[in-house]
């Protein structure tokens, strides 16, 4: 009961912070409006998908250090396939990229299950592997993105204040997450994260579920990589700073490391908060390096506070 409240309380608290931040933004920058929202939302996309990817495996009791590298692979694959391709080919390219993502994730998961090496170690090794694959596909920034695809995340959607990129994010997440969470696979993902022995004894195929969770992670990472290519217009083989940021957002979003708890909404709100803080600091013309310090401090203070709360809860 209290647990239930705590979990929803956490998300509610995040929403409150987000609202306060928007008010604050409006105060320091009175012309903050549709275009500001649009660029914020677009800049957030790769972070949001990286976070979603990380959240799924963390709920399943794992972690994936190769998220950013997988995004790079997906990004360059998309850029190479779309280079000079027609509109029809672009759709095929998108499907291929998503399949590549699923495959990469499934390979990560399968290696963890088959080798029985701890997930941190396997995905650390795979971080190098996917980085290498991205470099083999494209040795430097290159390729291009089909214009109609790029426009998918530019400008407003129906009403002027609703950025298309935000709708894109919502559609992608809902399309994958809602059916997943309702399915038995989704339950199994929570189950193996919560207690894998109990899950095994309840008849859950732990190995297969773990592979599936990593495959979903790869899928989200691929969409994230795709949005990178969509927003920059070319493919970049060197992974961006998405690993640390995604772990931060997942923790801030109330997904407990160790698994079994949390959902996608909290982490996504956390991503928006972190991006908004960065934007506000830029608006206040704070040194971007100080911004990094502030971001890091927020993350550390939040996890320390959360840690103390969790510890007290356990010892009451």
């Amino acid at each position: 009961m209290t647990r239930q409240f705590l979990r929803h309380g956490w998300t509610a608290g995040l929403l409150a912070i987000l609202a306060l931040l928007f008010v604050f933004t409006k105060i320091i920058q009175p012309d903050f409006g549709t275009s500001g929202l649009d660029s914020l939302s677009r800049a957030m996309l790769p972070f949001a998908f990286a976070t979603a990817a990380m959240a799924v495996v963390v709920i399943a009791g794992g972690i994936d250090l190769s998220v950013a590298s997988m995004m790079a692979v997906a990004g360059v694959t998309a850029a190479v396939l779309m280079d000079g391709a027609g509109d029809g080919m672009t759709a095929v390219a998108v499907v291929i990229v998503l399949l590549v993502g699923l495959t990469m994730g499934a390979i990560n998961g399968a290696l963890i299950v088959i080798t029985r090496v701890p997930d941190i170690v396997v995905t650390l090794a795979m971080l190098y592997v996917w980085e290498g694959v991205a470099l083999l596909i494209l040795n430097g920034p290159g390729g291009s993105a089909t214009p109609w695809l790029r426009e998918l995340i530019v400008g407003p959607f129906i009403v002027p204040w609703l950025p298309r990129s935000l709708v894109f994010l919502a559609v992608c997440l809902v399309a994958v997450w809602v059916p997943l969470k309702r399915s038995k696979l989704g339950l199994s993902i929570y189950a193996i994260g919560s207690n894998d022995l109990a899950a095994y004894r309840s008849g859950v195929s732990v190995g297969r579920t773990r592979i599936a969770a990593y495959a979903v992670c790869g899928l989200f990472a691929a969409i994230g990589g795709l949005t990178l290519t969509m927003s920059t217009g070319n493919g970049e083989p060197i992974p961006g700073p998405y690993l640390m940021a995604s772990v931060a957002a997942v923790v801030l979003g109330g997904v407990v490391l160790g698994g079994g708890k949390g959902a996608l909404l909290g982490p996504i709100i956390a991503v928006i908060i972190l991006r908004l803080v960065r934007m506000d600091l830029t608006l206040l013309s704070v040194d971007p390096n100080v911004t990094t310090i502030v971001e890091g401090t927020i993350m550390v203070v939040v996890v320390m506070f959360g840690g103390v709360l969790a510890y007290r809860g356990r010892h009451k």
Binding site: A191, S194, N195, S202, S205, H315
Partner: protein, 499 residues
């Protein structure tokens, strides 16, 4: 039971063997069970019982031998497959997912909800919602839910592993009733327990394992206990070690530990006791009457909400177990997994308390340490063949290690929380003898046990806690099971006596 039924066994395991590296866990284990039978699977710790269970339920594959279900050989590869073939286990650790609701747990295992609810009701648990999170429920309830979930899929063979271990006595009765009815309806049960009384009450036969092999299969008749113990131990033991010291022996002077009106958590309401040097004070209580909190507070694991603790007359308060240890209180937890460094050696486990203090962070005197550790190992007769990693030891030997570290550190006051739970008869007897010996050498021992029959053997007197309060103090001479049981249920005339 007719002969015909006996000829077509539901489950038939023959010649099962399993090795882990150099260790032979099972040599030649067999078990046959026909429809409508309840068979007790018995064996001392290290006899291979848990390996055998894992093989029967598909968690492990046997090296040799076969497991036949209804006469056809079944290579069971996972618990899910075992379930499909009609064999459903209920483990000591409830296999429910803590972070999911009851309903989600049922969905996960494809359990029919209506049947589940029927069995929950039958087993005497009310007031549950299907939306309740598993992590918010007490252990006893979880075990019942686990059992109800198993019963709901109508298993041919139900395997119960120490089903009654964490249950209060009223639930134990319900469980035994239900199990018996299950058998009367033609389904079979494999019943694993250390409690003879329960086995005598409901089982038809007992299959006994020793050193990885089935050494006997006996019908349950009055007085079969001695025979089973004999088979489990492999040699005739002398009779129960009834104590040599007289019960009239009552220590005098300043009590070592004085507790007054202690309260903690939600369970421990108001407990007072005096524990003297040279005595073993038993604590008897049904599950969840506040005894856990009493021990946690005395061990410095938890802080009291009210009341005082005094040692040798001086009031103390502990912020950390280290404070309690410094004051001479040593705690042996009920769960061995809480007490041991499983992947470290016997040596390191025993030496641990002596290195804990900041002042001991420097160089270790290896020779002195080795001598201390050896003394503890010798005194407790710990089997050190697998001493490289404690997790390779049998349960009984593991328990000896948790006690041994305090023997090595020098015992002053020992807090033992159910030290004989789930361990074999031989080790149990060794522990009684050790506890008596320590007391005779001047130690004060507080001894909680979930097995009432232990009280006269190990304790000088027993304090009964009911509903978080002391309801009776009984001298060992009078502490037969009926008396203790009545007191534990709060049925005594002389309520609320201070110990």
């Amino acid at each position: 039971m007719t002969d015909q039924q006996a000829q077509t066994p539901l489950l038939d395991a023959k010649g099962v063997s399993k090795r882990f590296g150099a260790v032979v866990a099972l040599e030649d284990a067999s078990l046959t069970i026909s429809a409508g039978q309840i068979v007790a699977l018995m064996g001392a710790n290290g006899a291979g019982k848990s390996t055998f269970v894992k093989i029967l339920t598909g968690a492990l594959k046997p090296d040799t031998g076969h497991v036949r279900i209804r006469g056809t050989e079944r290579r069971v590869g996972s618990p899910a497959e075992a379930r499909r073939s009609g064999l459903v286990p209920v483990y000591q650790e409830p296999s429910l997912i803590p972070d999911l609701s009851i309903a989600d747990n049922l969905r996960l295992g494809d359990t029919p909800v209506a049947d589940f609810q029927h069995w929950v009701h039958e087993l005497g648990i009310d007031g549950l919602h299907l939306d309740d999170m598993i992590s918010a429920l007490p252990l006893a309830t979880l075990r019942i839910l686990d059992l109800a979930r198993a019963l709901a899929v109508k298993p041919d063979v139900l395997l119960l592993d120490e089903m009654t271990a964490a249950l209060p006595t009223d639930l134990v009765e319900k469980v035994l009733d239900t199990v018996r009815k299950q058998a009367d309806a033609g389904q079979s049960v494999i019943y694993i327990s250390h409690r003879f009384s329960e086995i005598a009450e409901i089982c038809d036969r007992a299959t006994v394992l020793r050193d990885g092999a089935t050494v006997g299969d006996l019908p349950i008749t009055p007085g079969v206990e001695e025979k089973v113990v004999e088979l489990m131990l492999g040699a005739v033991l002398d009779k129960d070690p009834t104590r040599t010291s007289t019960a009239a022996h009552r220590p005098e002077g300043m009590p070592r530990v004085t507790v007054r009106n202690l309260a903690a958590g939600t369970k421990l309401q108001d407990v007072s006791l005096d524990l003297y040097r040279g005595e073993v004070l038993g604590v008897v209580a049904l599950e969840g009457q506040g005894q856990d909190q009493l021990f946690d507070v005395l061990a410095g694991m938890d802080s009291p909400t009210a009341g005082t603790i005094a040692l040798d007359g001086k009031t103390v308060s502990f912020n950390h177990p280290a404070d309690a240890i410094a004051a001479g209180l040593s705690f042996v937890p009920g769960d061995r997994a809480d007490g041991l460094l499983m992947e470290r050696s016997v040596h390191e486990n025993i030496a641990l308390p002596q290195l804990a203090r900041f002042a001991k962070w420097g160089a270790i005197g290896m020779k002195k340490e080795a001598a201390t550790v050896k003394k503890a190992i010798d005194r407790l007769q710990i089997d050190t063949r697998a001493q490289g990693e404690v997790q390779r030891l049998s349960g009984g030997n593991q328990q000896k290690v948790t006690i041994g570290r305090w023997i090595a550190a020098g015992v002053d006051t020992l807090l033992l929380f159910d030290p004989t739970r789930g361990i074999d008869v031989r080790t149990k007897r060794q522990i009684y003898l050790l506890v008596r010996e320590l007391a005779e050498q001047g130690a004060a021992v507080l001894y909680y046990t979930s097995e009432l029959a232990e009280v006269p053997a190990a304790c000088d007197r027993a304090m009964v806690i009911f509903n978080g309060k002391v309801v009776d103090v009984i001298e060992a001479a009078d502490a037969d099971e009926q008396t203790l049981m009545r007191a534990a249920y709060g049925l005594t005339a002389s309520a609320a006596v201070s110990a």
